[in-house]
């Protein structure tokens, strides 16, 4: 049983790497998402600059205060604004579609068709609502675990270094556990035209059957994201060592790394889905 799971795990990785090597265009959907994220980051960064201040300044003043349109205070709110926009706008509106396109392209490959971006994009746009709802569900879990667990850790460990490490590690693991359970929903929507609830249920049942394999297929690429989380945690210290503007570079790096980690997670999962479905 364990041996079979291990071989399946290795087989999926082997097929996925070959697929990504033969069709690097599978990186296109999440690269486009990265471009949108970079655009948003750029808008936040330039919001204190004239003439952008005229349009982008009032919301910042309204929510945070006028102090945060001045250097270097704007960099203290840059992560907050960017992470919230990413979680509640980019992820449900863009990432949901792009992840589905990525899964659809892998599915096409296994069905002997050329993995085409536009065909899958049109398909994903038509299924926008369930995709978006599923993404919101995952985002909510991520948001809750990254909000609640650090608070608990600070209560337990105070401001000690161990508390900082635990408040990054534990939400990460909680997120991986939940993501592994519901990650198949996107490919289920793309291939079976299911609604969000049914897709999440199907993903949950499907994932439980192969849970250790799914967990590690999600966990390995997400280690890259974990490294990036530490960059966010130590962003203030890094900024103190260099200049506050380095916060922007940190987020650019995070966005670029997310192209690789997200493409790997969803292509691996799509491969596993197709291979397991074939076996069944």
């Amino acid at each position: 049983m364990i041996k079979n799971a291990f071989f399946l795990f290795l087989n999926v990785i082997k097929i996925d790497l070959k697929l990504l090597k033969d069709y690097p265009r599978i990186f296109i959907p999440l690269t486009l998402r990265a471009l949108v994220s970079l655009g948003v980051l750029c808008l936040i960064y330039i919001s204190p600059y004239y003439p952008f201040k005229k349009i982008l300044g009032p919301p910042v003043i309204e929510f945070f205060g006028s102090k945060f349109l001045h250097y270097p205070h704007n960099f203290t709110i840059l992560p907050i604004i960017f992470i919230n926009i990413k979680n509640f706008l980019i992820n449900p509106l863009i990432t949901s579609i792009m992840v589905a396109v990525c899964c659809g392209m892998v599915y096409d490959y296994h069905n002997g068709r050329e993995p085409k971006f536009w065909r899958n994009f049109n398909k994903a746009v038509r299924r926008f609502l369930p995709l978006s709802l599923c993404m919101l569900f995952l985002v909510s879990i991520s948001y809750l675990s990254y909000r609640m667990i650090p608070l608990l850790m600070i209560k337990l460990f105070g401001e000690a270094e161990i508390g900082i490490f635990m408040s990054t590690f534990i939400p990460f693991f909680v997120l991986i556990i939940f993501e592994s359970l519901f990650v198949f929903c996107f490919i289920a929507i793309m291939t079976k035209k299911q609604n969000a609830f049914k897709a999440l249920k199907k993903s949950f049942i499907f994932s439980l059957k192969l849970y250790p394999v799914v967990f590690f297929l999600v966990f390995l690429p997400r280690l890259l994201d974990l490294l990036m989380s530490f960059l966010i945690v130590f962003q203030v210290r890094i900024s103190d060592m260099f200049i506050p503007d380095i916060a922007v570079l940190i987020f650019v790096l995070i966005i670029l790394i997310a192209i690789i980690s997200d493409t790997l997670v969803f292509s691996l999962i799509a491969n596993l889905y197709v291979l397991s479905a074939d076996e069944n």
């Binding site: 296109i28 655009g39 750029c42 600059y49 004239y50």
Partner: protein
């Protein structure tokens, strides 16, 4: 092909957007912050210097760079208030370099070009007067202090001017002049506090007034003034400050902890929510009160 064009367009827009705003106030703030950090690092290195030769070496190495960074702000953004702030720092670096004539010129430029920047002008004038005083030109120094009192008295630095005049006479043991100038200073502070009890600057005026009492050793008069004119029947933040000062005087000057703690307890009762009271509460708890 289409995607390549989109990416290229996106990069061009980002580049143009960032460059478009490069000459605004924000960029000035950025340059000032970076230059100010260089200035602070210079001061830090000087504080850590082990001997005079190392100090001279640091000044020779780092001071010109700091001046160049600050000067860029005054050249690129001559009309922004930050320029006056940068000029103040430049003058400070000149003083560190012992180039007092350049410092004087810098201070004069601030006073002439930024008369509306009250805090910066007051700082420049006080610093200028201090240079004249050091050079033995008390007449010019006193004239500048008088100007500060007439034009910028209600600024953080400006409040120092009357006390600095009095302290000069005291340091020279010119007792008649010292008494007279202390009296003038105290009247100025009392008048300001009386007219503006609720503005934040009143607390600075009160500090300077207490310094006047302290310089003359008139602790009982200080307590009497604080009790009768500020604390009594008042629940303003100034009253809290006055209570804390009174407590400190009882503790430090009269060794009367009981009396001090009684006043602290009154302060806690009267201003339970004030953050200043938190420290006092901790202190009382430490002594089991």
């Amino acid at each position: 092909m289409r995607i390549k064009k989109v990416i290229l367009l996106f990069l061009i827009i980002c580049f143009a957007a960032v460059n478009a705003g490069c000459y605004g106030t924000y960029e000035a703030e950025r340059q000032y912050w970076l230059a100010n950090r260089q200035y602070e690092r210079l001061l830090q290195s000087l504080n850590q210097a082990s001997d005079e030769s190392q100090r001279s070496e640091i000044i020779k190495d780092k001071a010109p760079e700091v001046i160049i960074s600050l000067r860029k702000i005054t050249i690129n953004y001559p009309f922004l208030p930050l320029s006056s702030q940068a000029m103040l720092l430049i003058a400070n670096v000149y003083i560190i370099e012992a180039r007092l004539d350049r410092a004087i010129k810098e201070y004069e430029n601030i006073i002439n070009e930024f008369p509306h920047m009250r805090e910066q002008c007051a700082s420049a004038m006080i610093a200028l007067a201090s240079i004249y005083k050091e050079r033995g030109n008390w007449r010019s120094a006193e004239e500048i202090y008088e100007n500060v009192i007439s034009e910028y008295f209600d600024t953080q630095i400006g409040f120092q001017a009357p006390l600095l005049i009095a302290r000069y006479y005291k340091s020279r043991a010119m007792n008649i002049e010292a008494d007279k100038t202390y009296e003038t200073a105290m009247n100025l502070y009392k008048e300001y506090i009386n007219d503006n009890p609720d503005v934040p600057q009143a607390s600075i005026a009160l500090e300077q007034l207490v310094n006047c009492y302290s310089d003359q050793g008139e602790w009982l008069e200080a307590i009497r003034y604080l009790q009768n004119d500020i604390i009594e029947d008042s629940d303003s933040p100034l009253a809290l400050q006055a209570m804390l000062i009174t407590g400190t005087i009882y503790e430090a000057q009269f060794n009367s902890r009981d009396k001090a703690f009684e006043i602290y307890r009154q302060a806690i009762e009267k201003f339970p929510e004030d953050p200043l009271v938190e420290k006092i509460r901790d202190r009382l708890e430490l002594y089991g009160e």
